[in-house]
Symmetry: none
């Protein structure tokens, strides 16, 4: 689990990094709001622990900006302000939890676990064409409901074909998108792999258009 800790107080930041790392988290730290925001944007974190009083950009602003950009990474605010209105403000600007300093380490951990439980669940995106289905996430491929196992190259090729189902795709096009070094790969290799796919998927779906390329019925 990747965590981002944004905290300017060096000693606390170091303590958090050490403690959380000992729990098995992968921890990155940022010492001010701006770099914290930048990291949160592109760092693919599972949660963010965020101080409020930060140089350059306050914690409030960091959350608000993230939310405005449709980034819903779970955020736990750490704050020295223990007023009820401070807490309410922090939560209302988009944070998911709020702890006041000094905080209990045990509680911080439990609250992080509770946050991580509710991950950002993005799903499906399973491609279909005719009686074929292909799931890029699980790499499951089925023909008429029956599962089929493909080698990596076969899989990539089928994925490309299915994404262009209905269209005729040329061999050069296929080489460009499926092979690493299209220039020194024999176009015959494509024919070979089309053969493999036909054997595994049945001959009906994948038609050859002589002189042009191949076409997967959509």
């Amino acid at each position: 689990m990747r965590l981002l800790v944004v905290e300017d107080e060096v000693r606390l930041a170091a303590a958090l990094r050490r403690g959380l790392a000992a729990e098995g988290f992968v921890v990155e730290t940022a010492a001010d709001g701006l770099t914290g925001l930048e990291l949160a944007r592109h760092g693919d974190f599972d949660a963010v622990v965020l101080d409020i009083m930060l140089p350059r950009l306050s914690g409030y602003d960091v959350v608000r900006t993230l939310r405005k950009e449709d980034n819903w990474v779970p955020v736990l605010i750490l704050s020295a302000k223990d007023g009820e209105y401070d807490e309410a403000d922090g939560l209302d600007c988009g944070a998911d939890d709020y702890l006041t300093k000094p905080f209990s380490y045990v509680v911080l951990l439990a609250r992080l676990r509770a946050l991580l439980r509710r991950g950002v669940s993005a799903r499906p995106a399973v491609l279909e064409a005719g009686d074929l289905t292909l799931d890029p996430a699980t790499r499951d491929v089925t023909v008429a409901g029956r599962p089929v196992t493909l080698t990596p190259r076969e899989f990539t090729l089928l994925e490309y074909l299915i994404r262009n189902a209905g269209r005729v795709v040329s061999k050069t096009e296929i080489l460009d998108h499926v092979w690493d070094s299209p220039l020194d790969t024999d176009p015959n290799t494509v024919e070979v792999y089309v053969g493999y796919l036909r054997r595994k998927l049945g001959h009906t779906a994948l038609q050859t258009v002589r002189g042009v390329g191949y076409r997967l019925a959509s």
Copy 2:
């Protein structure tokens, strides 16, 4: 927004009902754990405010039972116990938030809003995949009911795999989420640890997808 308030102290229950109704919530109340659980099961609520010390069935048990039944309605625990371990226990048995009495009404509202923002996308407090279970809070791992002891790194790796069960995860992805300095860690290290896990968990669950990564059967 429909709220369920489970609270046996009559005056507090009435105050909550009035206050929350004034905020525009539709509020039902229950005065003991059993009827609370029954209502939560079938009442289609958007969130539950739950006391711990309840007649007939404790708040802990209510949450645990709901979660066991795959009911992920957001739960906010209200408790008179303010020990850090009470709070951690409450969260770890599946609640999403924990407030100690006496609490600030403003904060309760803000925390409810934060919960409702998230909606029902929770996952269990103890993770499962196939015949594997893993509890992030207690760090217990079992295979087919039998307990297994893992080293910290093994545990973190399994946790990541189980959180992504069914999906194929690449070695780089694993390095990013499980190792501290992914850049100067040999991908072979991942292979080694996958080997360790297979020896401890049995070879069936953890499949390698050649050229891509690994996949834990879900």
